[in-house]
Symmetry: none
Subunit: 200 residues, 4 copies
């Protein structure tokens, strides 16, 4: 029974995995449920056994992954002391997430944002949670005198996350593959740019 339960869970994962590949390749709206089923190697009725709708699979994808993101931010906040290090840890987590599974990140960044305009408004709150955590880090750094107060924490979070997302978007839409060195560079440059600015 444990085995069958595991098997069931695995099939669910297979479908979710397939959804990532398909959404990444074709975009959410252009993907058919049958495409997901094909990619997963299952009959397409089965998708409905595990998910109530196509949208639900995107929701699940996002929510599962975003939970990790929030955790990672919280951990970064907990472990490090300097705000700069915290931001670096967060940037590193996101960049490494992309390195590890670029398609998943593509779906989360490109498709969820767009979907937020129609059916996934609920996720906005989750996304804002991340902003708030980052803003919290900035706010603390300001209290400690490490960051200046001219820029509000909320705006700072916007800038930080905006840069990270833009870097990933660049990679996503680039035809050229991204090398390991670029990943490491990106982590460093993100923090450097945000913390010190272009005038430095």
């Amino acid at each position: 029974m444990a085995a069958s339960s595991t098997a069931a869970t695995e099939k669910r994962r297979v479908i979710l995995e397939a959804a990532v590949r398909v959404f990444a390749r074709q975009g959410f709206h252009t993907s058919r449920v049958s495409d997901i089923a094909d990619q997963a190697g299952v009959a397409y009725g089965l998708v409905y056994h595990y998910f109530p709708s196509k949208e639900a699979s995107l929701d699940t994808l996002f929510l599962e992954r975003w939970e990790f993101m929030l955790q990672a931010i919280a951990e970064a906040d907990a472990i490090h002391t300097a705000a700069r290090d915290k931001l670096h840890a967060i940037a590193a987590f996101i960049v490494d997430s992309y390195r590890h599974d670029p398609e998943l990140m593509k779906v989360i960044i490109v498709e969820v944002t767009r979907a937020a305009n129609t059916f996934a408004r609920t996720h906005l709150e989750k996304i804002r949670d991340a902003y708030r955590l980052i803003a919290g880090i900035v706010a603390q750094a300001q209290r400690e005198g490490a960051f200046r107060r001219e820029i509000t924490p909320e705006f700072a979070a916007l800038a930080f996350y905006g840069l990270v997302e833009q870097v990933l978007t660049g990679w996503i839409f680039d035809s050229a593959p991204v090398g390991d060195e670029q990943f490491e560079n990106a982590k460093r440059m993100i923090v450097e740019t945000i913390c010190r600015g272009l005038e430095g």
Copy 2:
């Protein structure tokens, strides 16, 4: 004849305007051509008289507006001398564009810029043109010693545009209306953040 020609052109604009409202409200994929026609107060088929497809209307919307953007960036580069002022002018142009017609900017950012994924790959090059112009501004500032060289111009452009887009995205998905003061603040903070960084 001049009158009728003008009338024809006007009808085209009416439809384009309607498309903006509808795409902004429902998102491109969820918008029906009949929604556009209804919003424009014209018959269904007239949309197809002026545009070969629903997508073409979005393309037109984007291209027309993006051309303004490229012009504005070029002008900012030509008029000002300090890179900081140039960036401010660009940020101001984009923010004011949003202030003037938030729905149009919403469509361009959410449905095109962030969706270049699937059907708008054609526009990618246009988008990159903007990046290149901004990178050019940064590069010159580096040569003149105003900006430091640790951050590549390309990355700087990413950071700048990413922040601007993120600010707009925030407004787009915010339920609260944005006041004039916030617009002005945003312009200042964008430049301040990018040029001086959080540590200041």
Copy 3:
């Protein structure tokens, strides 16, 4: 006034001519009124000035031409004495019609027959008129003892017209152009086959 009336008539002919080319190339159902207008070099509203509908243009095409056909058959019947010569004259008229304007004949044979299934049932009677004339020729030949009576005149007409039509259909669907010699051969062979049979 006479001049303008002539001009008007000419425009009508231009449109009719264009319809032939377009129907021949694309088939009636796949042809748009605008295709006809384009081919004629006129605005497509003008087509409706001369013809009440797209179907009406096909009707006109057919009726005008078929009148010639009936005349030709009647003449052949009047001029010649031997049934064989009459049939040869008719075959020659049809083959020469094709030689002179293959597209027109294509439209009449291919499109009208198909249309007879839907909107052009009226033309069937006209077509039968031709059959009746040919049957009349055969009947007289039987009375004169030139043709045997085993085959009814109606059936004979079917066979004759069927062969002629099939020969034309062959040319119509052939990719290779047809040479003058083949036209002459066809006329001879049609009559020879019908009159003497394969066993000869």
Copy 4:
């Protein structure tokens, strides 16, 4: 499982059957897919479950039936010895096909054979296969001295098939029902006319 597989196949046949009735009644271009679905008593989408397009259903109809035709011609060629008997067998097959399912034959002749013009160019080669087989029969009869050589086998095939098609076309567009006697008469007269000619 065998049962369900059979059921699936049966549904396909039901749709194909319905398509015959509908195409025969309204003509291919005037038939809507929904008409077929209604006639078949199935939901709209099921037609597309079995056939990729409306045209594909017509193609299937034609190809399945034409294969029988080719077989029948080949068999006629194999079984009989006298060319006359072979031609009679072929004529009998086609006439009996019409007697058995006039609507199917109507669709094949009016919508496909005579319409190879536009969308059915693919079928041209299949149609020519039939001509070639018949021409082969004639050629052999010529070598054996049963048929004279003045008429080329290709032309003879044209004449034979043209007559058969014309006879059927006559019935198709006739309002009066055709009696059994006429069917038998037709078979005989077709062969008699083709083999011996009108002059006898």
